[in-house]
């Protein structure tokens, strides 16, 4: 490989590290993304136009450029069109594409090498990245597609008894099949082993993600993200390509840490997320008067408007319902209206509110809510005692007292927002349907709690109008 290309790859690698570093700080985050994109662009151009002996165009350049153009157009349109609320799905989808790409590379590489018998001579050092890229890439692709389907609601949870055992068996079978592929290189058994490995990886990807509850999808996506990083690093080993190796490993390790940090935010271990899937133990009894605490109290927008206008402190708890209803703008309108009436308004941000950590921050930032109004859980919790009204907009599991009181609850142990410390609670909700974890919320039966049913956006708009009319 030419030295010029090596230098280009070095620039690319440095850009990735620098870009990721800058993305970790709010002020420089956007620039960091641009720096990483620059590194990517330089590396790709270098690969295309710098060959063994200086500047030379890679073979099949026409085909490659048309493939890239197609990817650029489709990718840009998809990324630009997607609603802010559907961002997590989109990330999952693009992650899957990366996994598929890694798997395809391995397939072609294996085909080319085993066809000529070349692979036998190259030995284990060459075989390992090929097969590892195939397995990890395929699992990541299939897993991401399932996660994508679950997030957009087209796929449900699916689990059966002894699933963990079956998963281990499949994993073992993958190792056996990939071992056979290597031992019998050149023979028919090797070809069978290869396709066996591919098929089993697909099965594993399905089994891996299907049982995990929708509420835990962000963690899974983050984990699959780091898988794809490792698959890319395999390509780096295969081609002795430094930028692929560095980029891949960087994402692999950063992704793993990010996954663990997310789990910590939910006060759960990674194993707990992956194995102890959030159950659907008590999805029955979601009628309007079920549960232990008697009936719920429905309130009218007028009452809530009065309650809030004459409060001195209001805390808004946003959740996924806010995102679904696209209610962030009207929510900000309500907030500034109350502020102009002299009410102290804050947002309580649970680490996993919405479908991704930071989802609510992104959404509210979109509607120009200022940073200092967004208060993280550990800082807002002590303030609930002095809060007059808590307005819960489409959040459910993150305010469910069962996480504290009911050891049998699947979300037991997750830190929650202590909204019941405040004087009044108002919940904006479409119906009494349970949240993503599929469990009832005792909070709604709390005598301090009033329910304002309806679409979050409509309800907030009504509140704004009522307050203006007062």
């Amino acid at each position: 490989m030419s030295h010029i290309l090596e230098i280009v790859y070095l620039i690319g690698s440095i850009s990735f590290v620098l870009g990721l570093k800058m993305m970790g700080q709010p002020d420089t985050a956007r620039k960091g993304n641009a720096v990483a994109a620059f590194g990517m662009g330089v590396s790709v151009l270098g690969t295309l136009f710098i060959g063994e002996t200086g500047f030379s165009v890679i073979p099949h350049i026409g085909l490659i450029l048309s493939a890239i153009s197609l990817g650029v157009v489709v990718g840009t349109v998809m990324a630009k069109r997607v609603q802010m609320t559907a961002m997590p799905e989109m990330v999952s989808l693009f992650n899957g594409m990366g996994g598929l790409c890694a798997a395809l590379i391995s397939m072609i590489e294996w085909r080319a090498l085993s066809g000529t018998g070349e692979l036998q001579g190259l030995g284990f050092a060459h075989y390992l990245p090929v097969i590892a890229g195939l397995i990890i890439g395929t699992v990541s692709f299939v897993g991401s597609m399932v996660a994508w389907g679950k997030l957009n609601g087209s796929l449900g949870d699916f689990r059966f008894k002894g699933q963990q055992f079956i998963n281990m068996m499949v994993l073992l079978a993958i190792l056996v099949a990939s071992g056979l592929t290597f031992v019998f290189l050149g023979a028919d058994l090797s070809i069978m082993g290869f396709f066996g490995t591919l098929a089993l990886s697909v099965v594993y990807g399905l089994l891996f993600v299907f049982p995990i509850g929708g509420a835990d999808m962000p963690v899974v996506i983050s984990l699959l993200n780091s898988f794809t990083g490792v698959a890319a690093a395999c390509g780096g080993f295969l081609y002795h390509n430094n930028v692929m190796l560095m980029g891949g490993v960087l994402v692999g390790s950063a992704g793993t840490i990010l996954t663990i940090v997310m789990c910590q935010a939910m006060n759960r271990s990674l194993t707990n997320v992956l194995i102890g899937a959030v159950g659907n133990s008590s999805s029955s009894g979601s009628g309007s008067s079920g549960g232990k605490g008697g009936s719920v109290r429905e309130v009218q927008a007028t009452d809530v408007a009065i309650m809030m206008k004459y409060a001195s402190k209001v805390v808004i708890v946003p959740g996924y319902g806010l995102a679904v209803a696209q209610a962030q703008h009207v929510c900000h309108e309500l907030e500034s209206l109350l502020e102009s009436e002299g009410v102290d308004v804050k947002y309580a941000i649970h680490p996993v509110a919405g479908r991704m950590p930071g989802h609510m921050n992104v959404l509210l930032a979109e509607s120009n809510v200022s940073y200092d109004k967004l208060v993280e859980m550990e800082h807002i919790n002590p303030e609930f005692g002095t809060t007059d009204t808590v307005l819960i907009v489409g959040a459910n599991d993150v305010v469910n007292p069962a996480a504290k009181t009911d050891p049998a609850s699947p979300i037991y142990g997750m830190p929650i927002l202590d909204v019941d410390q405040s004087k009044q609670i108002v919940v904006l909700k479409r119906s009494m349907k349970s949240g993503y974890a599929g469990i009832d919320n005792e909070l709604f039966f709390n005598p301090k709690c009033g329910m304002l049913f309806g679409d979050a956006k409509d309800s907030l708009q009504k509140l704004v109008n009522e307050i203006k009319a007062l």
């Binding site: 970790g24 993304n33 693009f94 692929m244 680490p351």
Partner: protein
């Protein structure tokens, strides 16, 4: 076993690089405010799109009449590009919202 030692020996520089990169990755992410978790995940997602380079290499090597490899390689480059471009654009859109806002109350809708 000897094959594993051979593998390590042949790739020792890459293994050094890998180990150091793991530490860099851990160091970079450990102290990030949770506000930035989603954009960061998305940004990392775009960076592993570097796998695209592998797809370009493999497509460039494919024989002229090896149609299966050409087709799979073409697909590989398309999805790799999707990962890169989509990833960076989505991240940029998320981060765009974090920019400083000069204007005071009053919302656009």
């Amino acid at each position: 076993m000897s094959e594993i030692i051979q593998f390590v020996g042949e790739n020792i520089n890459f293994i050094y690089l890998m180990v150091l990169m793991i530490f860099v990755g851990i160091e970079l992410i450990s102290h990030v405010p949770s506000v930035l978790h989603t954009p960061l995940m998305s940004g990392a997602n775009a960076i592993h799109g570097v796998v695209l380079i592998g797809a370009i290499i493999v497509l460039g090597k494919a024989g002229n009449d090896d149609y299966l490899s050409l087709i799979l390689g073409f697909l590989g480059v398309v999805v790799g590009t999707l990962n890169v471009v989509g990833g960076f654009v989505v991240t940029d859109r998320m981060l765009e919202m974090f920019k400083k806002k000069p204007k005071a109350p009053g919302s656009k809708s």
